[in-house]
Assembly symmetry: C2
Homo-oligomer: 203 residues x 2
DNA sequence: CGGTAAGCACACAGGGCGGTGTACTTAAGT
DNA sequence: ACTTAAGTACACCGCCCTGTGTGCTTACCG
């Protein structure tokens, strides 16, 4: 519905079917969830015939898996490549999500599918572990005493904020960011302080 | 399947239909999720005729709402009433969940239903806020500087652990408990230390 | 004992879903 | 121009799901 750039011909949109399908999936799965989005509706939104959809994807399951795989982790990749930030700032930047973010689709998919064996569930697992690993890398760069632990902790905070935001319908990322700041300051030895305030920890 | 105490008559189980239905819902919704559990299957598991089920509940939605409402928050209520623990220990005890806990059903329900207006979603919201409030109470009792903030933070940790446990298929509560310990020690002024170690904060 | 509320068995309606079959049309490459 | 890959239109199948209609049986309680 947003900007599906309809082809110039008006009908018979041409060769971009697969991309249009994945684009529509992105939108509809986010807005309605996977289970509540039928293939008919999805194909209509993608302006693609159902037949074409099933020539690109063996079934809905495969489409769901590909949808997750193609999901643009804009928050993540955008954050870790920013060299203008100190490592500590980079760790904290992971919590600056635009308020228009509905919910981490990886969690939503894993819960909705309810099957750990599903390819999409496996990919969600891989992705979450990758995020923790990248956070651990940044933590190591920032001089954390136990980077793996800090990475795992920050990843848990992100997931907690995402879940809580969904259930309460209220942005929980600021709370998570506050916790993250405490953890980071506690984990990084005072010597490595790049931009830490002088005052020691909290009280 | 666990201990549905089947009636002595063998068939025609008698008047306990409503309880049996809710018991079966508890089990099946947890194990399979709500959307993947049909009313037929549920009635079979409850040893109740479908007709009876629909005389007790106007529809599946109402059953789901009642299921959440009747959910025994064994972890929660069991923890806050323990007077043998110091307030700090009580806060930490909320993270000692038995490893057989699949996932906080409130999060799962909110994600599965995908409709914030659904009665069950509203109840999930209420419940999550109640948990945060009780945690804040305990935090106040423990002498935290900002009990509301600490309560909200601990609640976020619990939700994060629950979500992450589900997605990764690995217990994330120890990590959350470790974070909680840091937060609690940072939030409670040193004077009120009931059982804190002497060494200052982490490093 | 008799009445009434609770429960049962079972078929069936109505709809949505995932997925397919068939015959047709268009665009692109050489 | 001809071929071929991509897409289309649309009817259709079988399945499962929520929810009902109907007539019957049992347990409790005064």
């Amino acid at each position: 519905m947003t900007e599906l750039e309809k082809g110039p011909t008006g009908r018979r949109r041409g060769r971009g079917a697969r991309e249009r399908i994945l684009g529509a999936a992105q939108e509809l799965f986010r807005e309605q969830g996977i289970n509540r989005t039928g293939m008919d509706q999805l194909c209509a939104a993608a302006e693609v015939s159902k037949r074409t959809a099933y020539q690109h994807f063996a079934g809905k399951d495969e489409l769901v898996a590909e949808y997750l795989r193609r999901f643009d982790p804009s928050v993540l990749s955008g954050v870790f490549d920013r060299t203008d930030l100190t490592p500590r700032e980079r760790l904290l930047a992971a919590f600056d999500v635009p308020p228009t973010t509905p919910l981490c689709p990886y969690i939503a998919t894993a819960v909705e599918l309810h099957d750990p064996q599903h390819p999409a569930s496996q990919y969600a697992r891989d992705y979450k572990q990758a995020v923790a690993a990248r956070l651990a890398d940044a933590a190591r760069e920032a001089g954390a005493a136990d980077p793996e632990q800090l990475g795992e902790q920050l990843a848990l905070l992100i997931d907690g904020a995402a879940a809580r935001t969904r259930v309460l319908n209220a942005d929980a990322f600021p709370t998570a960011a506050a916790i993250a700041a405490v953890l980071i300051d506690n984990a990084i030895p005072a010597t490595a302080g790049d931009d830490r305030r002088r005052e020691e920890v909290s009280s």
